[in-house]
Structures are given as structure tokens and as C-alpha cells.
């Protein structure tokens, strides 16, 4: 009974963390002389107030979910992938190129090929830092950040040069964008809104990632490497290879997110010179969503919808109470901080449970020194 109660509390921790973040946001709003009630109700209205609003929320949630799925895989292997922005860009570029080259093929063939191209692009862009970590000991946080910067420049180069819309080449404006994809190549819309098939596809992939992580040997190995690399090596798991696999797959999902962004929403690639111009910040916000979903693929579904809602609602809030949408970025940051901080209580209770289960005395007021330091940081991923 107690166990059940504890696991409910554990599952609710991110919700508490969000309320805490929204509370801090309310204080910030009051400091800026804006009524938090008015601001947050505009946010809600903007995210769920109409059929179109809900559709926009789900459209926004799609890349967050896809990136988040990749993050689940990487973080479960204790590999911190901050390169989803770059992986989305390379995936998007390769997918777009497919649609621009194979203009004669039927729509569904091109869409499948494009998603595969996105997968491949992201996999390459994630696999490189994976290999650098596994075989050269290069910290993946740093290399993925560098890879993001490189990807942005590749995008700018391609869209200003080889991939530029031929129509733009003749104009003086020279907008850095590709030609529009043929209508047949666009992802079908589900209801008469902007909601497209990509959302359903992302949900299906979430189930697939769940199966991969918990029902296959590969998934078991990835998680084992994340929990204890030394024991895994001892147990015969090729740790380096699994690190590469994890980052490669993680990048691949971000790459699919890029492909779907092009085929479901923009129908072309265009750059404002920055990565967020294309990704809308999904590479970072996907991390937030995955953490919020407790690094569980299924949990990441509602989490992505929630953060998609925040992002869409922020625009309405900006119009109604004149609060810049950047507030939501700041709040997302707070959510991350609160969620990772709240892990402490989960770990403490886990320790106590272990002691009770072993039939020992109820935990003394001084918690034993059995697990500390090194194991604590590894446990975060557990």
C-alpha cells in the first residue's frame, strides 16, 4: 500500500515542480505589474480554447515528442545529448533534398524516403559525437553543442547556395529558402486544421521506443550501460558500442523531427540564420519534455503536449497581456531545475524502501553511508 502511495508521489513530482515554476512565474508577472490570473488564463485560452488552438498545440508538441523520444534513449544510457537542434537541422535538410530531387515519385514513397533521410541525417549528426565519446573520451555535452553550431552554418550555406529556390536566385531579395515541396508530398491533414499525420506517427514511435527500451535486448543493454557502465562491461556488454548506438538513435529521432517539421508544417526549409528559426527551439524544449515525462517514452507524450500548449499559449498571452513569449522559455528552465532537484526526494525514499524491503529496521534518523557520491549521480538516470 505504502509502495503504491510512494510511486504515485514519484509520478506526480514533475507536476509539483511545474506548479512551483508557474508559481515563480506568477511572482515574476506581478513584479512586471501584470495579473497572473489574466496572463495564465490567456495562456490556457491560446492553447486549448478552440479546435484550431488544440490542433496548433498538437502540431507544436510533435517535434517535442520526437526529440524527447531520442532524449529518453540517450539519457537512459547516461549520455547527455544537447545536439538535437543540429540533428533536427541535418535531418530536415536531407529530407527536404529528397523531396526536391525525386519529384516524379508518388507522394507516399517520397514521404517514407524523406522520413528515412531525416532518420539518417540525425543519426549521422548524433553518431559522430557518440563515436567521439566512446572512442576518444570527448565529452558529448561539448561536442553536441559544437555540432549544433556547425549544423546551423551548413544549413545557411545550403539554403543560400546549392539548395536555394531557383525562383529566388533570379530575384534580388535572395531569401535563403528552398523551393516549396510538391503538394503530393505534404503530410496529410487529419481534421480541417493544421494538425497533420506526423503527430500520430510520433505517438506510434513513442510506443516503439517503449518496446525498444524495455522489451528488447538492445534496450536492456542501453539502460544497463546508463545505470552502471562498469558492471555492464563486466557482464559482457560492449559499452562503447552501446554509447554510440544510444547517441545515434537519439540523433535519428531528432532528425525525424526535422523531416516532419518540413513535410508537415513548413513544406520548405527557410533560415533566419539561427537554429531556432527552423527548430523553434524544439531541440532544447524536447529535453525539457523528456525530463518532465521522467525519461519514459509514454510519459513524454503528455509532457510534450503540455509544453506544446505552453509554447502556443505564450503567443496568445503575448497579445493579450503584452508579456513576451520569452517568459515561457524562462519558465521551462525553472521546470527543468525543479524536476532534477526533486529527484533528491525520490532517491531518499528509494533508499528507505530498500531498507524496509530487506527486512531491516525502519530507517534510522541518520541515513546509512552505503550509497553516496558516485552512485548518486548515476542513480539520477535510473
Amino acid at each position: 500500500m505504502r509502495l503504491k502511495f510512494d510511486s504515485v508521489i514519484d509520478a506526480l513530482l514533475p507536476v509539483f515542480a511545474t506548479f512551483a515554476a508557474l508559481g515563480v512565474g506568477a511572482i515574476m508577472l506581478m513584479a512586471l505589474q501584470v495579473s497572473p490570473v489574466e496572463a495564465y488564463s490567456a495562456l490556457w485560452e491560446g492553447a486549448f480554447g478552440s479546435k484550431n488552438a488544440i490542433a496548433e498545440t498538437l502540431v507544436k508538441a510533435t517535434p517535442l515528442l520526437l526529440v524527447g523520444l531520442g532524449i529518453c534513449i540517450a539519457f537512459r544510457a547516461n549520455v547527455i545529448n544537447i545536439g538535437a537542434e543540429g540533428q533536427m537541422i541535418i535531418g530536415g535538410l536531407m529530407a527536404t533534398q529528397v523531396g526536391l530531387v525525386f519529384t516524379d515519385l508518388p507522394g507516399w514513397v517520397v514521404i517514407i524516403m524523406a522520413i528515412f533521410a531525416g532518420f539518417l541525417g540525425g543519426a549521422i549528426w548524433g553518431g559522430i559525437p557518440g563515436a567521439l565519446k566512446a572512442y576518444f573520451g570527448v565529452n558529448e555535452i561539448l561536442s553536441t553543442v559544437m555540432m549544433n553550431a556547425i549544423a546551423v552554418q551548413i544549413m545557411n550555406f545550403m539554403l543560400r547556395g546549392p539548395m536555394m529556390d531557383p525562383a529566388q536566385l533570379e530575384k534580388a531579395s535572395k531569401i535563403p529558402q528552398t523551393a516549396r515541396l510538391a503538394e503530393a508530398f505534404r503530410l496529410p491533414r487529419l481534421v480541417p486544421t493544421r494538425l497533420h499525420l506526423g503527430f500520430v506517427f510520433a505517438i506510434a514511435l513513442a510506443v516503439l521506443v517503449y518496446v525498444l527500451l524495455w522489451r528488447t535486448t538492445l534496450g536492456y543493454r542501453i539502460r544497463a550501460v546508463g545505470q552502471n557502465p562498469h558492471a555492464s562491461r563486466y557482464g559482457g556488454i560492449r559499452v562503447r558500442r552501446r554509447i554510440v548506438t544510444a547517441l545515434l538513435l537519439s540523433g535519428a529521432f531528432a532528425g525525424i523531427a526535422g523531416a516532419i517539421q518540413v513535410y508537415g508544417v513548413n513544406y520548405r526549409m527557410i533560415t533566419d540564420g539561427s537554429s531556432t528559426g527552423f527548430t523553434g527551439g524544439a531541440g532544447f524544449n524536447g529535453i525539457v519534455a523528456a525530463l518532465f515525462g521522467q525519461l519514459h517514452p509514454i510519459g513524454t507524450i503528455p509532457a510534450s503536449i503540455f509544453f506544446g500548449a505552453l509554447l502556443v499559449g505564450a503567443n496568445k498571452m503575448q497579445r493579450v497581456v503584452q508579456i513576451p513569449a520569452a517568459l515561457i522559455t524562462a519558465l521551462n528552465g525553472l521546470v527543468v531545475i525543479f524536476v532534477v532537484s526533486s529527484e533528491l526526494w525520490r532517491r531518499r525514499r528509494q533508499k528507505q524502501r530498500l531498507l524496509v524491503d530487506e527486512g531491516g529496521e525502519p530507517p534510522p534518523s541518520e541515513s546509512p553511508k552505503t550509497e553516496k557520491g558516485a552512485s548518486a549521480s548515476e542513480e539520477v538516470m535510473a
Binding site: 512586471l32 547527455i80 544537447i82 567521439l132 576518444f136 573520451g137 570527448v138 565529452n139 555535452i141 561539448l142 561536442s143 553543442v145 559544437m146 555540432m147 549544433n148 553550431a149 556547425i150 552554418q153 551548413i154 545557411n156 550555406f157 543560400r160 547556395g161 539561427s274 532544447f284 529535453i287 525539457v288 525530463l291 508579456i323 513576451p324 520569452a326 517568459l327 515561457i328 522559455t329 524562462a330 519558465l331 521551462n332 528552465g333 525553472l334 521546470v335 527543468v336 531545475i337 532534477v340 532537484s341 529527484e343 533528491l344 541518520e366 541515513s367 546509512p368 553511508k369 553516496k372 557520491g373 558516485a374 548518486a376 549521480s377 539520477v380 538516470m381
Partner: protein
């Protein structure tokens, strides 16, 4: 056409200027990492510092008050980071991303609410060092910069001295290498880490200020565009040593300065490739150096005294 000497002097002089924000942020980060804490929120702290410095300098007209504002907000961000990583023992790589997002959003929010448009300030003026600035070439390269630039370079020997010649430095290093042993010898791991993380926050804030009121003299949303992450990379690059960080910052800003000058001189090289170069270089250098040096043993590992 400019003479070759002028170009070389120009490239080297702007190398020195460009290294400034990297140095402040990376030296601060070195303090944090030496004590076992990875601060990934540098970029966010820099943005908040850059905005605070700019806004105060813009409204009061006093640049030093601007620097002070950056110091204060940097210290506050550092304090929060310290609480989260020392007391709450949160995973540092991830909480750092949280602090980054917070700084990114917060600085843009305040910028739009308080300023609305891009404004400029008259930043710190160049300060010619008597006699030294008259030396041909050398003077122009090294001794005709503003005070924030000199400050960044002075920080390097100071950090070296603290790490290697003081008890404080010894405490920082021992806490980063073996917190259990340090603790048993009566060193307060928590207090040392609070000190280094707050110091890292302050220096990140000043790094931001050096951009907004000394080098560029404007504030724009996301004006650092990931510079803080590079600063973290420079610490690995410099093998956790002050002079190593200096070498990394100089190399990185040299390539950057070369890239800017190639654009100025209309040398036919793709802009995008040129901007990419420093990042590719950083990855290559990380590959070449990282396997040879070992990070502080307790890096990213929270310390639990068990009480």
C-alpha cells in the same frame, strides 16, 4: 588594399579583444570544475549579466554600476546553482541546461519589457598604457584596449596563483579530487563549492558585461549565441589549468578574428565555412587532448556527508 603589416596587427589585436568574454567565463568555469561542479548554465548567466550591465549603464550612464549589476546578478545565479547542485544534489549537466534556458528567456523578457528596441551605449574607452602602447606593432596589439580586456588577461595569473600557491586553491583542488578525504580533514566541501560556483557565476556575469558594455556596446536577445558553451569547452581544452584556458581562448579567438578579417577583406571564402571553422577546430583539439588529461575525479559528483 591594406598593407600586410596592418592586417596582421589588426588580426592579432582583435584576437586579444575577442578572447575577453571567453576568458572571464572560462576562468570562472575552471574554478567550478576544479571543485567538482560542472556549471553548464554559463551562457544563461552571461546573457543575464550582459543585460543587467547594459540596462544599468544605459539608464544611469555609469559603466561601473553596470559591471556591479552584472556581478550581482551573476552571484545570484551562482547562488541558486550552488544550492541546486550542492544541497539538492541535482544532476549538473541537466540543471545547467535549466539555468541556461532560464537566463535565455529571462534576459529576452527583460529586454523586451524594459528596453523594447536595440539601443547602444558608449562603452569603456580604450586605455593606452603609457610607454608600452608606443612600441611599434606590440603596442597596438596588446596595449590599446579597454579596461575589461586587461582585466580578463590579469585574471589568468591571478587564477593560477590561487590554484597553485594558496591554501584556498589547495582546498578547491582537494574538494574536486577527493571530497571524502577533504571532508575528513575538516574542509567544508559545501562551503568551498558554494564559493567556487558563486565566483563562476560572477565571472560569467562579467563576461556578459564585457560584451554588452565594452566590446559590442549593445544588447540583443541571445547575443552570446552559445559563447558560454564554448567557454565550458575551453576548460576541457585547457586541461583545467588557467594558462591552458588562456591558450585555448587565444587559439579560438585567433581563428575567429581571422574569419572576421577574411570577410572584411573580401577574401573569397564562404562565410558559413569561416564561421564553422572555430567549432570544428574545437572538436579536433578536444579529440587530440582529452584522452591525455584527466578531469577532476569528483567532477559532476554530488557529495553527501551522510548526515
Amino acid at each position: 588594399m591594406m598593407s600586410p603589416e596592418l592586417i596582421i596587427v589588426g588580426v592579432l589585436s582583435s584576437t586579444i579583444r575577442l578572447a575577453t568574454p571567453y576568458l572571464y567565463a572560462a576562468i570562472g568555469e575552471t574554478f567550478g570544475q576544479r571543485s567538482g561542479v560542472l556549471n553548464l548554465g554559463v551562457d544563461g548567466q552571461m546573457l543575464i549579466g550582459a543585460f543587467a550591465a547594459f540596462y544599468i549603464a544605459f539608464t544611469t550612464g555609469n559603466l561601473w554600476l553596470g559591471v556591479l549589476a552584472a556581478v550581482i546578478v551573476g552571484a545570484l545565479m551562482g547562488l541558486a546553482m550552488a544550492f541546486v547542485s550542492v544541497n539538492l544534489q541535482a544532476e549538473q549537466g541537466i540543471s545547467g541546461i535549466g539555468f541556461y534556458l532560464f537566463g535565455l528567456g529571462m534576459s529576452e523578457l527583460l529586454f523586451k519589457m524594459l528596453l523594447g528596441t536595440v539601443e547602444t551605449v558608449k562603452g569603456f574607452p580604450d586605455l593606452e598604457i603609457p610607454f608600452l602602447s608606443d612600441i611599434p606593432y606590440i603596442g597596438e596589439i596588446f596595449f590599446q584596449h579597454n579596461i575589461m580586456v586587461y582585466g580578463a588577461f590579469l585574471l589568468v595569473p591571478i587564477a593560477w596563483f590561487i590554484f597553485n600557491k594558496t591554501t584556498l586553491g589547495l582546498k578547491i583542488r582537494s574538494v574536486g579530487e577527493n571530497p571524502e578525504a577533504a571532508d575528513s580533514l575538516g574542509v567544508s566541501v559545501a562551503r568551498v563549492r558554494y564559493f567556487t560556483i558563486i565566483l563562476a557565476g560572477i565571472l560569467s556575469g562579467v563576461a556578459g558585461a564585457s560584451m554588452s558594455i565594452a566590446l559590442l556596446n549593445v544588447f540583443q536577445q541571445n547575443m552570446t549565441s552559445g559563447l558560454g558553451f564554448i567557454a565550458v569547452a575551453l576548460v576541457y581544452f585547457g586541461a583545467w589549468r588557467a594558462f591552458g584556458v588562456l591558450a585555448g581562448a587565444l587559439l579560438f579567438s585567433f581563428v575567429n578574428s581571422l574569419q572576421l578579417w577574411m570577410q572584411v577583406l573580401n577574401i573569397p571564402i564562404s562565410t558559413e565555412l569561416a564561421i564553422m571553422l572555430p567549432y570544428i577546430l574545437t572538436i579536433v583539439v578536444l579529440v587530440l587532448t582529452v584522452s591525455k588529461v584527466r578531469p577532476p575525479s569528483a567532477l559532476t559528483k554530488p557529495f553527501d556527508r551522510g548526515d
